[in-house]
C-alpha cells in the first residue's frame, strides 16, 4: 500500500531495554482517520510502542512510518504532525495558562498563535484561567490544558496514553467530545485499560502481551475474537480493566 495513505506503517519494530526484550517484531498498519485501541496487561510494552511511534524512544530494530515519515530518519517531520497526551500533563507549573500555550505554540511554529490559543482555551473551557499560574490547577484542569497543548498545531495523528486516568467527569466529557469531533479528520491511537467504555470509539484494535501482538484487527474489530483473546491475555472479560 502506498505509504502516503497510511497514517501508521509499523515494520518489524523490536525494542530492548538493556538486555530485556520489551517489544518483538511488531508490524501493523493503520489508515488515516481510524481510531486504534491498544490494550494489554501491564508490562506488555504498550507505552513503549506508543513512545516509539511518538519519537520519544528509538526503535531498537525495524522502523515505523508515521504520516509517511520514518521515526528513525525523519523524527522532526514526524513530530510536526503528531500530538501526544499522557498522564503527565507536560506543563510548566510556574507559567500561566497563556504562557504555557504560547511556549509550545512557538516551538511548533503555529501561525496566528494568539487566535489559536483563544480558540483552544474556549474549547477546553479554561479561558477564565488564562492568566493564572497553573500550579494550583486540579488534575482535570491540567488534563484539559494538556489537550489544548496537544492540539495547538492541528496534528494529523493523536497519541493518547491512558488519558482517562484520574480525570473528573467534566474533563472526560471534554476529552471524549474532542475525540468525537475530530474523528473524521484525525487519526487516533489510544492505549487504554478501560476497554469497555472506549470500545465505541475504536475502529481498530491491537492486543499486546509480553511485547508481541496477540490480536490485530484488519478491517474492523471482530468483537468475538477480540473478547476471547482479551479474556485469554487479561484473564477477565472486557468489562474489567486489563490487569
Amino acid at each position: 500500500m502506498n505509504q502516503d495513505k497510511l497514517a501508521l506503517d509499523v515494520q518489524s519494530v523490536s525494542k530492548m531495554f538493556g538486555r530485556r526484550q520489551i517489544l518483538t517484531d511488531i508490524s501493523f498498519t493503520l489508515r488515516t482517520g481510524e481510531f486504534l485501541l491498544i490494550v494489554g496487561p501491564n508490562g506488555a510494552g504498550k507505552t513503549t510502542l506508543l513512545k516509539i511511534l511518538a519519537t520519544l524512544l528509538s526503535p531498537g530494530s525495524g522502523d515505523a512510518f508515521v504520516s509517511g515519515f520514518s521515526v528513525k530518519k525523519n523524527p522532526t517531520k514526524v513530530r510536526e504532525r503528531i500530538g501526544f497526551i499522557s498522564h503527565n500533563h507536560l506543563l510548566y507549573r510556574d507559567l500561566t495558562t497563556y504562557e504555557n500555550l504560547k511556549f509550545y505554540g512557538e516551538m511548533y511554529g503555529v501561525k496566528d498563535l494568539d487566535a489559536r490559543i483563544d480558540e483552544l482555551l474556549n474549547m477546553v473551557e479554561l479561558n477564565h484561567r488564562r492568566y493564572d499560574t497553573v500550579r494550583n490547577f486540579s488534575r482535570g484542569m491540567f488534563q484539559r490544558l494538556a489537550i489544548a497543548r496537544a492540539l495547538l498545531h492541528k496534528p494529523e495523528i493523536m497519541f493518547l496514553d491512558e488519558p482517562h486516568t484520574g480525570l473528573d467527569p467534566h474533563a472526560v466529557d471534554i476529552l471524549d467530545g474532542m475525540m468525537r469531533d475530530m474523528s473524521s479528520t484525525t487519526t487516533f491511537v489510544m492505549v487504554t485499560h478501560h476497554i469497555e467504555s472506549t470500545l465505541s470509539l475504536g475502529t481498530q484494535a491491537l492486543i499486546l502481551d509480553e511485547g508481541k501482538i496477540q490480536y490485530c484487527s484488519d478491517t474492523g474489530i471482530d468483537l468475538e475474537r477480540f473478547r476471547s483473546i482479551y479474556g485469554k491475555v487479561c484473564g477477565r472479560g472486557i468489562e474489567h480493566d486489563c490487569d
Binding site: 530492548m16 531495554f17 538493556g18 538486555r19 530485556r20 526484550q21
Partner: protein, 230 residues
C-alpha cells in the same frame, strides 16, 4: 590462531621486559647525580608507560566516536576495556613518577607539569568509570560513556599544554627528558622496555575483550532464562 597470538605476545612481552631489565641494570652505567643518579633507571619504564597510557586513551576516544556512529556495542566494550588498562598503566606511571621524585629529590610530590597532567588524566578516567556505574541501562550507559570519553580525551591535550604553563610561574621544571641525550645503549634499553610494555598492553587488551564479550553473552543468556521463568 588466536591462541598463538596470545602466547606469542606473552612471550615477546616477557622476553623483552626481561632483557630490558638486564640491560638497564647490568649493561647501562649509572648516570651522574645531576641527572638523578641511580633512580634515573626508572625512566626506561616510566616513559613507555606514559606513551602507552596515552595510546590507550586515544583508543578509547576513537572507539567512543565509532560507537556513537555505529551503535555497535563492541566499540563500547573496546572503549572501556582500553580505558581500564590505560588507567592501570596510568596508576603504575604515577607510582613510578612519584618514586622517581622521591629518590631523586627527596620529596614525594612536586607540582611537576607531567605529574599534574597524569593526575588529571587519572581523574578523568576515574570519572568515566564512575559515570558508567551510575547508569543501569546498557544503551544509555554506553552512549553517555562515549560522550564523556570524547570530552575527556579532548581534555588531555589541554591538560598537557596548560600544565606546562605553570612552569613559567612556579619553580622551573626540574629536568626534561631531552636533557639526557640518549646514546646507543640507552636507546636500546628504551626500545626493549617499550616493546615489552606495548606487547603487554595489547595482550591485556585482547584478554580483557575476550572476557567482556563472554560476560555479555552470559548476561544475554541469563536474561533469556529469567524472562522465560516469569
Amino acid at each position: 590462531m588466536k591462541k598463538a597470538v596470545v602466547w606469542g605476545l606473552g612471550a615477546v612481552s616477557v622476553v623483552a621486559l626481561a632483557v630490558s631489565l638486564y640491560w638497564i641494570f647490568v649493561v647501562l652505567p649509572i648516570v651522574p647525580r645531576e641527572q638523578t643518579g641511580f633512580s634515573q633507571k626508572i625512566f626506561y619504564f616510566h616513559m613507555p608507560a606514559a606513551i602507552i597510557s596515552f595510546v590507550a586513551f586515544i583508543v578509547t576516544f576513537v572507539a567512543s566516536i565509532l560507537f556513537l556512529a555505529k551503535k555497535d556495542f563492541k566499540y563500547d566494550i573496546l572503549a572501556y576495556s582500553s580505558a581500564e588498562i590505560g588507567l592501570v598503566f596510568g596508576v603504575v606511571l604515577m607510582i613510578f613518577g612519584i618514586t622517581w621524585d622521591k629518590l631523586a629529590w627527596g620529596v614525594w610530590w612536586t607540582w611537576d607539569p607531567r605529574l599534574v597532567t597524569y593526575l588529571i588524566l587519572l581523574f578523568l578516567f576515574g570519572a568515566y568509570f564512575f559515570l558508567r556505574s551510575m547508569v543501569s541501562e546498557r544503551m544509555k550507559q554506553a552512549r553517555f560513556a562515549a560522550v564523556f570519553g570524547i570530552i575527556a580525551a579532548l581534555d588531555v591535550p589541554v591538560s598537557f599544554f596548560s600544565t606546562r604553563l605553570i612552569k613559567n610561574v612556579l619553580h622551573p621544571v626540574i629536568f626534561s627528558r631531552e636533557g639526557f641525550g640518549l646514546d646507543m645503549n640507552m636507546t636500546i634499553a628504551l626500545l626493549l622496555a617499550f616493546a615489552g610494555m606495548t606487547a603487554l598492553y595489547v595482550l591485556m587488551l585482547m584478554l580483557k575483550l575476550k572476557v567482556e564479550h563472554m560476560m555479555e553473552d552470559v548476561h544475554v543468556l541469563k536474561d533469556m532464562i529469567e524472562s522465560r521463568r516469569d
